[in-house]
């Protein structure tokens, strides 16, 4: 039998090793899954993880990695701050939708005016929209002690309905021949979040994601507030004695994660997606939770994890079209990753020893 022995301190080695181990285990289990679906497991894994980076068509796929990875990293960075302090914002998907709606709303209000101030104004609106949506669970939490997990999640469904209502009503393209969906922002130069360097996939969202990573790194390592966040997560009682205000932390963590999710939504609607439509949201808000944990809630880790998760999206698409691998299999694959990660995380805090015979 095996026995667990608590480590006096979390193992640094295992902190770095567990994500790698989880990815390897997921690949193995995913391979079995793909084999059960009647696909060649080695070929499938190769298609997902190798093809987008190094195949002959990689020049086409690599920009896609940035496009998919940017929103994931942006959202996950915000979420990780809260997760560190034990503040669970599960509703990033809703904040993402509201950010996109606000940003697109500003753009469409000015249509067809061409001016330099429109895009910055949209960015502001997107961030504020996401922030405001996240402030609902935040204020309810600090004022009434309401569970932020449930409230933020309920607001995802509310936001989805709002999105449907907007794309069928207020934001609908008046020249769209009655089809649902807004005007295409890609055809509105002042509002278009275009590629900064053609053909690279590099748009303002990618820049924002990189800035967010640096910002979070500095905050967590060099700033008092970041220290308070870590302290609250590791030792809530000690944090209270040290005078950390939980109210401020809740408002800050939910606010930042909401604003970043809103920004991610805005950059998506103004760039790669272009239109507000009923099926605009693609689950980035939920996948970002996996990214945050896979990155061990560390900014640099999240950057790497976001890249890996983008790989499963892009590679998954290739495997879908080339091998006929169902989309749901990729979704399951991502879910499995979080499972394995949580399971192998045990080794960070505990030693696993063979049970010795006890003296009788």
């Amino acid at each position: 039998m095996l026995r667990l022995e608590k480590r006096p301190q979390p193992s640094r080695l295992w902190t770095y090793l567990t994500p790698v181990l989880a990815v390897v285990l997921t690949m193995l289990c995913g391979g079995v899954l793909f084999a059960l679906l009647g696909k060649d497991p080695v070929l499938a894994i190769r298609t997902i993880f190798w093809e987008p980076l190094f195949s002959e068509f990689a020049f086409y796929y690599r920009p896609q990695l940035l496009v998919k990875g940017a929103p994931l990293v942006l959202i996950a960075i915000g979420l990780s701050l809260g997760f560190k302090a034990g503040i669970w914002n599960i509703g990033a998907e809703g904040q993402y939708i509201i950010g996109a709606l606000c940003g697109a709303g500003v753009a469409l209000a000015f249509y067809p005016l061409e001016a330099a101030f429109i895009f910055p104004l949209m960015v502001l609106a997107g961030g504020l929209g996401g922030w405001a949506w996240a402030m609902i669970p935040a204020i309810l939490k600090v004022r009434f002690g309401t569970n932020e997990i449930l409230v933020s999640l309920m607001l995802v469904y509310v936001a989805e309905q709002l999105l449907a209502s907007m794309s069928l009503g207020l934001l609908k393209n008046p020249q769209g021949f009655g089809f649902p969906g807004s005007r295409n922002l890609q055809q509105y130069p002042s509002a278009h979040n275009a590629e900064l360097l053609a053909g690279t996939g590099m748009h303002w969202g990618v820049v924002a994601a990189l800035i967010a990573v640096i910002f979070a790194y500095v905050l967590l390592n060099r700033h008092m507030l970041g220290f308070h966040i870590r302290l609250t997560g590791d030792a809530p009682r000690a944090a209270r004695f040290a005078g950390v205000s939980p109210t401020r932390l809740v408002l800050f963590c939910l606010g930042v994660s909401g604003a970043l999710a809103g920004l991610a939504g805005l950059f998506e609607v103004a760039g790669p997606s272009g239109v507000v439509s009923i099926d605009f949201n693609a689950g980035y808000g939920f996948t970002a939770i996996i990214v945050a944990f896979l990155g061990r809630l560390h900014p640099v880790g999240i950057l790497l994890a976001g890249g890996l998760m983008a790989l499963t999206y892009v590679g998954g698409d290739i495997a879908q079209s080339k091998l006929g691998l169902p989309k749901a299999a990729i979704q399951l694959f991502q879910g499995m990753l979080l499972f394995f990660l949580l399971a192998v995380d045990l080794t960070t805090n505990y030693r696993i020893r063979a049970r010795r015979k006890e003296a009788s």
Binding site: W88, T146, I149, M154, Q161, I289, L338, A343
Partner: protein
């Protein structure tokens, strides 16, 4: 708008049907939380139960077998959560989320071939004599047996928690796992059993949606009912009868909202459709003032070495 098109008998009868999946999932989660475990994976277990039940019912032609399969499916999935939180000592919030994400993917994968199929229909109980009572008979006594099973389950859980030794032990584990451990109770085993029960109930609730309430399979068809069930447990202050009251209230709201949509009220459909979620939030706000009823060890991991 024509409100007279809403038939009160049908409205109240469909209220009971709409409330049943919620009640099943919430009563299961109540037991889990009374044992001190917060399982946020209800949504994932429900949707997995929904597709397991649907697939088995379609392939065997027996809806009852489908329900059994759904309960087993939900319970098996919940074992994953149990392994993570009870043996690998993972964070319960994160593990619950993982369960939901995993369950949504798994159900979508299994359900690929089942879209647009009609499951075998479920026999209605139609209790003799009682169902002939005007008005009340139509509301209360013409349902499938699962509606009554859910009510019976609520009564059983209430009785077991209040009057049996097993219930007392379960509550002890949920209130103070160290004390329960010191008394010689197997904390982990009891919790795993509770998680399993919760998973079976959630699976059953999911299958009720896909086999009886809707009845067909679409991806993500539980649409947040699992999360509402979680909120319901808080609303009920962890008491079985209050869970039932809450489930029937929410069931009523859902049905009323659907009826208003059909009657063509001036409020746009989307705003009516978001009302159950908004009301859940409002109820959570009202109920969260009093936290004293929550099991004291809720959400905390237990390891004998600590």
């Amino acid at each position: 708008m024509d409100l007279s098109a809403i038939n009160p008998t049908l409205l109240l009868a469909s209220l009971m049907v709409a409330a049943t999946p919620l009640l099943l999932a919430a009563i299961g989660e109540l037991v889990v939380e009374r044992a001190g475990v917060l399982n946020l994976g209800v949504e994932g277990m429900m949707i997995t139960g929904a597709i397991c039940g649907f697939a088995i019912a379609v392939n065997t032609g027996s809806p009852v077998l489908g329900l059994v399969a759904a309960a087993i499916g939900g319970a098996v999935l919940s074992l994953l959560f149990a392994a993570l939180t009870q043996y690998a000592l993972a964070n319960q919030v994160a593990s619950g989320l993982a369960l939901t994400l995993f369950g949504l993917g798994l159900s979508a994968l299994i359900g690929q071939g089942y879209q647009g199929i009609k499951p075998p229909s479920f026999p209605k109980a139609d209790i003799p004599f009682l169902s002939d009572i005007p008005f009340i008979g139509g509301i209360l006594f013409r349902h499938d047996f699962v509606v009554y099973l859910a009510i019976a389950l609520t009564a059983a859980v209430w009785w077991a928690l209040k009057y049996t030794r097993a219930g007392l032990v379960l509550r002890a584990v949920g209130e103070n796992h160290d004390a329960a451990h010191a008394l010689g109770y197997k904390v982990v085993r009891i919790r795993v059993a509770a998680i399993c029960f919760g998973g079976a109930c959630a699976g059953l609730g999911g299958a009720y949606i896909s086999l009886i309430r809707v009845p067909q399979w679409t991806e993500g068809m539980t649409a947040g009912i699992g999360w509402i069930a979680l909120a319901l447990v808080v609303f009920a202050s962890w008491k079985p009868w209050r869970v039932m009251l809450g489930a029937y209230l929410f069931g009523g709201l859902t049905v009323l909202q659907l009826n208003l949509q059909a009657a063509g009220v001036a409020i746009p459909v989307e705003y009516l459709a978001m009302s159950p979620y908004l009301i859940t939030i409002i109820v959570l706000v009202i109920m969260s003032a009093d936290k004293s009823r929550a099991p004291a060890a809720l959400g905390r991991s237990f390891h004998a070495s600590q």
